[in-house]
Structures are given as C-alpha cells and as structure tokens.
Symmetry: C2
Subunit: 457 residues, 2 copies
C-alpha cells in the first residue's frame, strides 16, 4: 500500500487536471439540447476507464441517456465490488451567479469550481484514479471491480431500475460502493447508511385560454397564478407539517435511541444553517435540524412560473401557472403511493374555476442500510487511513434512487462513501470540490479495495 | 362631410397599409433592449403627423421614453381638442403562441393581427387619418387640435404627470379625447366614462443565499417559493375579497341606481366569459360580472417566478421567489396609499424565516367623468354616424393613468372614445384589430371634430 499511496501523492496535480477535463463536458441530463454532450461524456468516460486499467468498458444504451459500464474481474475467489456514480450534471441556471463559468473549471483557495465537480464526477474519478494507482503499481486489484456510472441520476434515474433488471447478472456483486453524498463536515469522513426517498410532482393550472388584460378581465375569472399559490399554501400547515391526508401514515417515528445517536454527532446546527444564508431555522415543529434533514419527510417547491416574469409591469391575468414540487420521503413511505395521495389532495382542494392538473415527474424510494455488516467496518477503516481522522456513520437528506434499487435487486450491502461537503453547492451556482477531499478520497478508495478483499460475504 | 366620408371610404386599404407600417416597429416600452425601437417609433409618428397636415410635430423627451406632440391651431374662436393615445406596446411573450409574428402584421378574416394593432396604434391612427381626410378635402379642421401620443402607457405612464405639469400651457385644451379603450361589444359603439386605477407591486422573497440541494437542506430552511405562495394566498379570502386591512375603506358602495344602469346594458355575461376560455365565472361574492369589472376593485398576480422553470426535475430549494401583483382600483381609492397598505400587510404576514420585500412598480388613479357635458353628446352622435348604430355609455375595468391626470390638471372634460373590442387580445398573444371598427372609427373621428366645433365650452 505504501507504494500506491506514494504514487497517488505524487500524481496529485495530474488527477486534478484530468478531473478538469471531464468537468468541461456539459453533460446536463435534464436538457434535451445537451443530449449530444451527455453522450460525448459517456464515451469519454469509457475511454478513461480503459486507460485506468479496466479490462472492459462499454457505453450501454437505455431508453434515456446511456450508462457506462466497466470491469476488472481477474481476482478469482475475491469479492466483487460494484462502484456506482453518475456522469450527468444539474442545469446551471442562474448563469450570472457563477463567479467562473460552470464548464470552465477554476481552482480558487483549494477548491475546484465547476458544475459536476462534487456531484458527481469528482467522486467517480476518485475511484477510477484509485484503480489506476493499483494497476500501475501492482498490475492488479485486490478485488474484482465493476463500475456502473449512469447518465440520469439528476433526472431521477428513470431507466435505472429496468437497466438493473435487464443486466442483473452483469452487475452482480458482493458489495456496492456508492460515492455521491457529502461527508458530515470538513474533516469528518463519513459513511452514510440512510437516504431519503423522493417524489417529484408538477402542478399545472390553466385559467383563461390566453393571457388576458388584467384591467378588462380582472375580477371576473380565476387567476391561475393566484389559484396555484392557494393550492401550494395548503400543502403544509403552520407547524411545517405536510397536510396531504395519509402522508405520514407509514412514517416510522423517531425512536429515543435514534435521537440520542443523532444528537451525539459532531454537528453544529448554527454553522450548518449559516452556510445556507437563511436568516433563521425553519422546519417541522418538535424536531432537531438533523432529524428534520435525515429522518423526517418534507415538501418543497423547486420552481414556480407564470405570466410576466421580465422587467417592468405587464398587466395580465396569465393563462397558465406551473409549479414543481418535490417531497423527500423516509422509510417506509412509498413514493408512488405518495404521488397518488398528492394528486388526490390537489384535485380535492382545486377550485372548479380553473383547470388543475397534478402529475408525477419522478419517484425514488428511501434507503436504510443495516450497517453492522463487516464491509461497513472496512469502509470506516479505509476512510480513517485516507483522511487520518475518525470516520462516523451518518444519514443524508438527499436521494440516490439507485441505492434502494440495487440493494433490493442484488441483495448486496450498499456502502455510501461520500467525498463531498455540505457547502459545495451541488445543484446551485458555484458548485465546487474541496481538493483535499478529492486527494484523500483517492487514497481511501485504494485502501477500501484492499480492506474489502479481506471481508467474508 | 360627404366628401370627407367618401374620401375615407375610398382610402380604406391605404389606411390599413399605413397602420401595418407602424405596427412593424417593435416599440416595447418595458424592455430596455427595445429603447431604440421605441425612439424610432416616436420619430416615425412625428413624420406621419406632419404628413397628415398638422403644422407642427415634435418628439419631446421625458426622463423615460419620449412623447410625440403634434398640433393644428388655425381655427381661431373654435374649441381646442386634445387627442391622447400611446405608441408603445406590451411585450410579446409567449412568442410561440402567436399564429403570425407580432411585428409582421397579417390580415385574417377582416382582422389585422399584430402587437399594438388595437392597443393603441390603430386607435391613434384613426384620429390621424381623420385629420388627414379633413385637411385634404377641406384644407382645414373644424376645431383646433393637439395630439399627445406617449411612449410609456404600458409601463404606467411614469413620467406623464410631470410632463403634463411642465407643458401645461402647450397641452391646454377645451376637451380631451382618449382613444385607448374597447367598445362594449362588436356593433355597440361606446363612450367610456369610468376607468379603474392601478397599483402594481412586486414581492420578492429571499431565502438561502444560493439555490440549495432540496435533499440535503429540505426541511431545515424556509423555502422562498413556498413562503411567496403563502403570502399571496393570504391576499384574498374565499369570497374573492382582498384581505389587506383598509383596502376597501374609501371604496364608494355600488348604488341601486348604478346597478340598474349596468344591468340594462346590452351585455351578455356568458358570451363575455366564454371569450376568456375560463371554465367558470369567478369573482367577489355578491356582484355581477359588469360590477366586478367596472365598479369593484380586485387583485391579480401578473407573474410568478422562482427556481427551476425548465424541463424536468431539478431538485432545489430556490434562493429567491418573485411575484408581480396588481390591484385595479375604483373611486376613491388612492393608489399610493393602497401601495403602502399592501407593503404594510405583506410585512405583517411575512415569516421571519425569510427576507420579504414588497415594492411599488407603478400607480395610477381611477377616473369617473361627469358625462352630462354636451361634449359627450357630440361624441355619442359622432359614433352613431360613423357606425350607424346607437352608442352607449360604459365603464372599463382597465386603467389609463393619463385620463385622471389630464382631467385634474387641465380641468377639461375627457371623452373616452374606444375603438377596440374586448376580444382583441391586447396584452396577450395574437393581438388584433377589427378593421371595420378602424374604418368606421376614422369616419366617427371626422364627425367628432365637426360636432365638437359646435359645443360651447
């Protein structure tokens, strides 16, 4: 291992340069305009897998964006590790809030700025570079390894479940390692054992058939923007609880034990909140910040649009109003059932004076790992070696739909080894990656493969 | 008059062609990008005034877009008529809903489609062509005439009051004729004697300092889009009444007499509503459609924007949310006072978990004319001659801020002689002008000048 770690240390700058190159590809999965760039990124990644020493790499089609598969399977008798990540990225709007352009990566104060640096290209590359370091220095890996890097994570991994079912044998593994989550804080290497699920909805309100003059028609027809606001206002109550009937029916209450565990983590509520820039904490009454984030469901508007949104004072009653609303879910809420409850409730509270439609855009189950498996201990040890700090078990408020799916399909333990940080602006302008974590992440991955080689599955 | 009317009839097509030319100029006043086009339109209009036979025409600067002034004052002893209109137009979004491009006018089934055709270039041209017909056939006008055609009507006539104060002598007149309103219906020529006022506000909610990942942060900070919806939902109650304290304090109740008058007009509620495409009527409980439109105030969201409004499912807590909200006002609501009440109320109901700011974008007073002045009878007679149909007195739900201002400043009666129709999509895609009204409007204006020459002011 010494030789490998030394090699990783001396190639630090090259690893950064190579990450910069892939971040330059604008692989925005939600934008049909960027379809070719997404495909270009997949092809590029395939080449990089082969360059790292994998013996096989393929761009595999799905009905949406392709997934990239890679493997090295020359360690008979040793465990097989499946590494998951994604090469697609979030959109970049509002563009004018980026200090440097999202696809022209720039290093400032030890952080690499660019869309996809932390979510998730940097984390995928940490594994790929660890593989490369093993192959160059040892000519082999201590375990069999498979990579599955998808192109639709940021749009709900729509085709992944089907893909997994169709390629179950190909992807079969003893353990899955997912690197697509943040650590608890800088200097707190973390293994995540729980993720929230997601149900993402759209509400569309149609009022008049065209935008109307708000003078000539103001007061005699329902305004779809007002109607939309009234509907959204009724989705949560004054205690921050979701009002959709049945929403909490399957939510497992927070146990005293769990509360104590969460309270014992090195987590600074004030510092975390400060990082958001919000003027005050806000959330479901009766729960702490970590509980609100990790073990309680929530509902957020992700986007709103109606009528005149440009400069000045255009006086219209808009014809339409649209909202995107997502709900983060916890065990054992069923995301499809939640979508149905949402639609039913919106229809119930919708006035008859406008046409209101609610529809599901995507859904993903929550995830909770039994983290007493020895593979988790191997991961904790690998992080402690890579980062030189004690690693902790955490949960995460976000969703990685793949995790629940692979866990259920392959029946393999899933280790969420995250190398991001909570303030790295994933999904926001000025996304960045702390380069110390990138480097120590590569070292940790190299140790992880060695550690997993010793685990009995 | 016969010769003049015959001339107007035989120049029908040329008048349309000339209107097409000015509609081609995209004089969108709310868009700073279009500043040069607005100025080009003012200059063009000045040339057309001189071509019509006015002896003086000038593009007059304001701190915003210029106004165009024109005059013919060679009828000593005769009344002076001030004609008001505007050459600026509304924005054109959403562009993809236009059947033909907004600035490439096209005639379909007797209607001229294009931005500004009915609001207000066609109505300004009706006067200008009537002047031309008089000048060519008689070498004179029966009255002194002044034109003031402004470039900021669609953005609240921001600088008009000041302009009027500075040029009070220049604009002094015995009667003002404003052509910028619709008739009650096709075949119902109308003189409007009342307009609603307008207070146009913007509400901005700032939550986190950047867009946040809705997974990692969902549940612990206030979502500005949710907050905005909650605020807007609280601006009106379930009876369609505005909830802002003090909002109705100065509203004059609808009298029985007024109710009878409105009920006697040839107005078909169902047909009018059908024209909007809305599925059902909706408005303040206890009032008829005409009452809701003309004599009761209202509140409408004109635009909403927050977060991700593109394709797909971007999972963010937006940093900001913005709404444009306008209120149509009636006598004797004070638009600036209403703005203050609005701001105060929004601040009261805003949560402390986000930063909420409400600000005034524009304000204009309502207007109610004493329509027993003989000038109004002259206008009714001119319309009956031009249209061959009985004309009626109506009110209008829209606002023309200039009207109240000129009435108060010059102390002259203001006649709102509208040549538009309620279904002509002013402020919406596919704005159009019924060409029969344009033609008969030119004839009516020619008669109007003659009629006003006989009125004693």
């Amino acid at each position: 291992m010494e030789k490998i770690v030394e090699y990783i240390n001396s190639n630090r700058q090259r690893y950064i340069d190579e990450l910069v190159d892939i971040v330059k590809i604008p692989s925005i999965s939600c934008s049909s305009e960027h379809k070719q760039e997404v495909e270009r990124c997949a092809e590029y990644l395939k080449q990089k897998m082969l360059a790292a020493g994998l013996t096989r790499a393929e761009v595999m089609p799905t009905p949406g964006h392709p997934a990239v598969y890679g493997e090295w399977l020359e360690a008979p008798g040793k465990p097989t590790v499946l590494v998951y990540g994604h090469y697609d990225v979030q959109p970049v709007e509002p563009l004018d809030e980026w200090t440097s352009p999202p696809f022209e990566p720039e290093i400032r104060e030890g952080e690499l700025y660019g869309r996809g640096t932390t979510d998730d290209k940097g984390q995928v590359y940490a594994h790929l570079k660890a593989v490369e370091a093993w192959m160059i220095n040892e000519g082999r890996l201590p375990v069999n390894i498979k990579f599955i890097v998808e192109g639709e994570e940021e749009i709900g991994s729509e085709h992944l479940e089907q893909f997994l079912a169709e390629h179950k044998d190909l992807l079969q593994a003893d353990v899955a390692v997912i690197s697509d989550t943040p650590m608890l804080d800088r200097g707190v290497p973390s293994i995540c054992y729980g993720l929230r699920g997601l149900t993402y909805m759209e509400i569309e309100v149609q009022g008049p058939s065209v935008d109307l003059h708000s003078g000539s028609f103001g007061g005699i027809v329902a305004n779809p923007a007002n109607v939309l606001c009234e509907i959204i206002a009724r989705l949560k109550d004054e205690n921050g609880r979701v009002t959709i009937p049945g929403f909490y029916d399957k939510v497992v209450p927070v146990s005293d034990d769990q509360r104590r565990n969460l309270a014992s983590l090195p987590f600074d509520d004030d510092a975390y909140l400060k990082l958001t820039g919000s003027p005050a904490p806000c959330g479901e009454t009766g729960y702490t910040t970590l509980e609100r984030m990790w073990v309680r469901p929530t509902l957020d508007v992700n986007g709103l649009v109606s009528g005149h949104v440009g400069e000045g004072a255009k006086t219209i009653i808009p014809a339409k109003a649209l909202a995107k609303v997502s709900m983060r879910l916890v065990p054992h809420q069923d995301p499809d059932e939640i979508a149905e409850l949402f639609i039913k409730y919106v229809q119930e509270i919708a006035p008859k004076t406008a046409r209101v439609e609610a529809r599901k855009l995507s859904a993903g189950v929550s995830f909770l790992a039994p983290y007493d498996h020895p593979a988790f201990q191997a991961a904790i040890r690998a992080l402690e070696k890579g980062f030189g700090k004690r690693a902790v078990f955490i949960r995460e408020g976000g969703s990685v739909p793949f995790v629940g799916t692979i866990h259920d399909t392959l029946g393999a333990p899933c280790i969420l080894l995250g190398l991001g940080l909570p303030d790295e602006n994933s999904h926001a302008p000025n996304e960045k990656l702390y380069l110390v974590n990138y480097h120590q992440g590569i070292v940790s991955c190299a140790y992880l493969y060695q550690g997993l080689a010793e685990v009995e599955f």
